[in-house]
Symmetry: C2
Subunit: 191 residues, 2 copies
C-alpha cells in the first residue's frame, strides 16, 4: 500500500507540475505547483529530491508514454517507407502542453547533465522503436539492413525534432507539407 501511495503522490505532483510548466516555463514556482496539486511545499520535498529531480521525473514519464504509443502503431510489422514512418510519428496524438515542455526540457538539458542523461536514454529507446518500424522496409533495400535502419531512424528522429520546433514556434508547415517538401528537395535530382 505504501509503495502504491507513494507512486500515486508522485504522479499527482508531477501532473500538477506539468500543467504549471506548460503555462509558466522556467518561471514555475514551487508555490504554484503546491496550489495546483493541493498539497504543501514539504510534501513535494518528501517525494522528490528537489525541483530539478521533479523535472527529470516528468521528462522521463512524458517520453516513456510516447514510445509505447509508437510501438503499438507499428506492431503489425508492415513494410513502411521512411516517409510513412515519419507521417505516423508526426500524427501521434500529442497534447499541446507536451510540445511546449519538451522544448523547455531540451533547452534546460544543454546545461543540466542529469536531465540530459534522462533525455538521452529516452531518445535512444525512441530511436530503437523507429528502427523496429523501419526494419521491414530496410530489408527490401540493397544495403545491409541494420546499418541502414539505424541511420535512417536517426535521420527521422532529427527531422521530427525539427518539425516539433517549427510546430511549437513558427507553424510554417503541416506534417504532410514537410514530407512532400523533403521528398521534393531530396528526391530524384534529375526530376
Amino acid at each position: 500500500m505504501s509503495d502504491a501511495h507513494r507512486a500515486a503522490r508522485r504522479e499527482q505532483i508531477a501532473e500538477a507540475a506539468l500543467q504549471v510548466l506548460a503555462r509558466k516555463g522556467s518561471d514555475t514556482s514551487i508555490a504554484e505547483i503546491v496550489a495546483e496539486c493541493g498539497l504543501s511545499a514539504g510534501a513535494i520535498y518528501g517525494n522528490f529530491e528537489n525541483k530539478a529531480d521533479l523535472a527529470r521525473y516528468i521528462a522521463g514519464q512524458l517520453l516513456h508514454r510516447r514510445i509505447g504509443t509508437l510501438d503499438d502503431a507499428v506492431a503489425d510489422g508492415a513494410v513502411r517507407t521512411p516517409a510513412e514512418v515519419l507521417r505516423l510519428f508526426m500524427t501521434l496524438r500529442r497534447q499541446p502542453p507536451d510540445l511546449s515542455v519538451l522544448l523547455q526540457f531540451w533547452g534546460e538539458a544543454t546545461v543540466d547533465p542529469e536531465l540530459k542523461a534522462v533525455l538521452e536514454t529516452r531518445a535512444t529507446e525512441f530511436r530503437d522503436a523507429v528502427v523496429r518500424a523501419l526494419r521491414p522496409w530496410a530489408a527490401t533495400q540493397p544495403e545491409d539492413t541494420e546499418p541502414l535502419a539505424l541511420r535512417t531512424a536517426e535521420v527521422c528522429m532529427a527531422m521530427v525534432q525539427g518539425y516539433f520546433v517549427n510546430t511549437a514556434l513558427f507553424g510554417w508547415m503541416t506534417g504532410a507539407e514537410y514530407l512532400d517538401g523533403a521528398e521534393r528537395a531530396f528526391g530524384s535530382p534529375l526530376h
Copy 2:
C-alpha cells in the same frame, strides 16, 4: 556620445549574460551577470527593462549575426541544391555556447509570447536568406520558382533545427551523415 555609450553598455551586459546563460541556463541570476560584467544590479535595470527584456535582446542579436553570415556565403548567386545549402548552413562557424542558448530560447519562447515574437521575426529573415540561396536552383526546376524555393527553404530550416537539437543533445550524426541519410531515405524510392 551618449547613444554610443549606451549601446556599448548594453553590449557589455549582453555579452556577460550570454556567457552565464551558456553555463547556468534558467538558473542564471542577476548577481552572476553582475559579477561577470563588473557593473551593478542597478546598471542592468538602467539598460534593460528586466531579465526577460535582456534575454530578448541577446536572442535578437545572436540570430541577427548569423543571417549576415549566411547571406555572405551565398552572395555569388551560384546554383546550389537543397543538400548543398543545408551543408553550408550546418557548417557556418558556430560557437558551442550559441547552440545551448538557442535551445534555451526555443524552450522559453513556448511560454513567453514576446520572446517568441523576436524568434519568429529572425526565423523569417533567416528563411528568406535561405530562399535567396535556393532561388538559382529552384529556377532550374520545372515547378514555379518562388513557391518551390519558399517551401524548400522551410524544409531546410526545420531540418537544420532538428540537426541542432541532435548536435546539442545526442550527437548521433555529423552533418554529412545526416544529409546522406536524408538523401538515402527520400531519394529515388526504387533505388
